[in-house]
């Protein structure tokens, strides 16, 4: 059963991703992307990661996508739809990524499917993923967490610097 659900999500994600990059109309691309985010959230749910699934929907579908739509509002859609979707070098890109894909598939056995640390599936199911993530994030991974907060601060500062009124003309 789980395999069928996973298969549905995996295949749909692939198809939708193709639609995102090939749609001529940017608005369609963004809407496909919305669907994509929901399906990725579905994969997270299958992995017992309900917190990530919720964040995926709130942050990506909620915040980032709205930002994208705002950006598209600034475009000239009619002109945009005339533009070639891909640059001329796209076959080379396809070739390289297919090569990478094949190499990764042949090397699949090498990937470790075990977990590290105290949190195995059973314990996460018992304690809920949100709690497990919170515990790890604020103990073991406190340092990366704090650095990430600095990165966000710089994002705000940078936006202010680049958008604030001119000093002199």
């Amino acid at each position: 059963m789980v395999e069928i659900i996973f298969g549905y999500f995996a295949i749909t994600i692939l198809i939708i991703s193709l639609l995102v990059v090939t749609s001529r109309n940017p608005v369609h691309s963004v809407l496909w992307m919305l669907l994509l985010f929901f399906h990725v959230a579905g994969i997270y749910l299958l992995l017992n990661a309900e917190f990530l699934a919720a964040t995926q929907i709130i942050v990506y579908a909620g915040a980032i996508l709205v930002l994208f739509l705002f950006t598209i509002m600034l475009l000239d859609l009619r002109e945009e739809m005339q533009i070639q979707r891909f640059t001329r070098g796209w076959p080379a890109g396809l070739l390289i990524s297919t090569g990478v894909l094949i190499v990764l598939i042949t090397g699949l056995k090498g990937f470790k499917t075990t977990f590290v640390g105290q949190w195995d599936i059973k314990e996460i199911e018992e304690a809920t993923h949100t709690k497990a993530l919170g515990k790890v994030l604020f103990t073991e991974y406190l340092l990366p967490f704090e650095i990430a907060s600095l990165v966000l601060l710089i994002a705000i500062l940078g936006a202010v610097v680049l958008a604030k009124k001119k000093l002199k003309t």
């Binding site: 090498g110 340092l143 990366p144 650095i147 990430a148 500062l157 940078g158 000093l167």
Partner: protein, 471 residues
């Protein structure tokens, strides 16, 4: 574990972040931006005071403060101080005098420090992102200049790609080893069992780091961004992120990925030869001095890479030594370029250096010194840097590579010495413009000149130091 030992290795970074945040607030009340600049230098002084005391590791090996990282942190501090000194007057001329400039430079430096100290790939990535995000904004700091905007946008888009690539590489490494701690990697990676996926992971990591330190073929952004960004930021970018990238490269590849040395060594050999070739040969065609210095900085990344290729403690210490020397000579050269920038004069085209020596003999002599040092002519520091890099190669049976590198150094003499030729041997058709001097710029020039000469003549204290702190 008690609090003191948990915090101690991180103390310099924490102090620096706190003071940088304080500067954001002070910036509201202080209108003389020179004062803000002085505050940022004071911040560095205070942070540097806590550095020697910070030895140790914390957060389960995620953050390591050892001799290696401390040496790089000093490079970042020197880079920051010199950049601040050359910026003060320049920002005024460019009419972009915002206090945030200094805050961003400080945070970018914090990111570099985290990269140099990272014992964990996630911490490394976040440090890299902190550094890069600040530099993107700095590259676009002259908002009314389209060139600067273009540089920032290009840097940002390509930088975002390289971030995605490094994350993919890290996730593959994690999938193969089950750990992100760099010091645990050697025992957890089974090099022979997973040769192909590991190679892909290596290529991803190399591509992303190659982007940061501008290795060919990941260098395409460099000339455009270096040319378009404010010159003071170009000076900062051409040293800091590069040194931080090499610090991370050294730790990840020489410590973490030792089991795969056979795989990555030849990739690095090919990349460093390509980098030296493209950097030095394309620089010959450049008429814009900032573009020329951009290609020269690409070439120097190729030289510094040789230290990692050598795969030995001597190689790493030669690389560290080289990066410190490069800091002084490169920022010195940029300081001279900044001096030429005045209200109505860009000072970027090579023709504008004609007849320079007659009007400004002293500054021309200083530029001559930096050009000699960048070429690697004794008795300047550049010679010492290159000498020990090539020596490390020869000691590790890569004599042919050292010969190749020397050939490229000879080629580089053409475009470095051409600047000297323009300054000394040509008469100017137009009037030679006056310099925009300031005490801070003079001080920066003084520091760089002194170190380029002192390290060139008396290098043994530095050499002994890098020998001790090498990986």
């Amino acid at each position: 574990m008690d609090w003191a030992s948990l915090i101690r290795p991180l103390l310099p970074e924490i102090i620096m972040i706190t003071l940088a945040l304080l500067i954001i607030i002070l910036e509201l009340f202080i209108h003389r931006k020179e004062t803000i600049a002085m505050f940022s230098i004071a911040t560095i002084a205070i942070t540097a005071y806590f550095i020697p005391d910070s030895m140790g590791e914390t957060f389960g090996g995620m953050f390591i403060s050892d001799g290696y990282s401390i040496f790089f942190k000093y490079i970042f501090f020197i880079n920051l101080i010199l950049t601040v000194l050359v910026s003060i007057k320049y920002l005024k001329i460019e009419r972009s005098e915002f206090g945030e400039y200094y805050v961003l430079i400080l945070f970018s430096t914090v990111g570099m420090m985290i990269m140099a100290s990272a014992g964990d790939l996630i911490v490394l990535y976040l440090g890299l992102e902190l550094m890069a995000l600040s530099t993107y904004v700095l590259a676009g700091f002259i908002r009314h200049s389209t060139r600067s905007n273009e540089a920032a946008l290009k840097y940002f888009l390509l930088g975002a790609f390289s971030s995605a690539i490094i994350l993919f590489g890290i996730s593959l490494i994690y999938a193969l080893s089950g750990t992100t701690l760099i010091y645990e990697l050697p025992e957890k990676i089974e090099a022979s069992a997973n040769a192909t996926p590991l190679l892909i992971a290596l290529i991803f990591l190399i591509a992303a780091f190659g982007f940061k330190v501008a290795l060919v073929p990941f260098h395409v952004w460099t000339p455009d961004v270096y040319e378009g960004a404010p010159t003071s930021v170009t000076a900062f970018m051409s040293v800091g992120p590069k040194a931080a990238g090499f610090a991370a490269l050294g730790r990840v590849f020489i410590v973490g990925l030792t089991p795969t040395v056979i795989q990555w060594q030849w990739i690095f050999i090919v990349l460093s030869i390509a980098t030296m070739a493209v950097g030095n040969i394309v620089a010959i065609q450049q008429r814009n001095i900032k573009r020329m210095l951009a290609y020269s900085s690409i070439a120097h990344a190729g030289y510094a890479m040789l230290g990692i290729v050598a795969y030995s403690p001597e190689g790493v210490s030669a690389m560290m030594n080289y990066l410190l020397i490069y800091t002084f000579m490169n920022i010195g050269a940029f300081a001279v370029v900044i001096m030429l920038r005045s209200e109505e004069f860009a000072g970027e085209d090579l023709d504008e250096y004609k007849g320079f020596a007659k009007k400004h003999p002293f500054v021309a002599a200083v530029m001559l010194l930096f050009m000699f040092s960048l070429t690697g002519i004794p008795p300047t520091a550049g010679f010492i840097g290159k000498f020990y890099l090539f020596k490390a190669l020869v000691e590790n049976n890569l004599t042919w590579l050292a010969v190749v590198a020397v050939i490229f150094s000879v080629i580089s003499a053409y475009f470095y010495l051409r600047v000297v030729m323009y300054m000394y041997m040509y008469e100017s058709e137009k009037e030679v413009p006056s310099l925009s001097l300031s005490p801070a710029l003079g001080l920066a020039l003084f520091i760089t000149v002194v170190y380029v000469i002192v390290i060139g003549v008396y290098p043994s204290p530095l050499l002994n130091f890098v020998r001790v702190v090498s990986l």
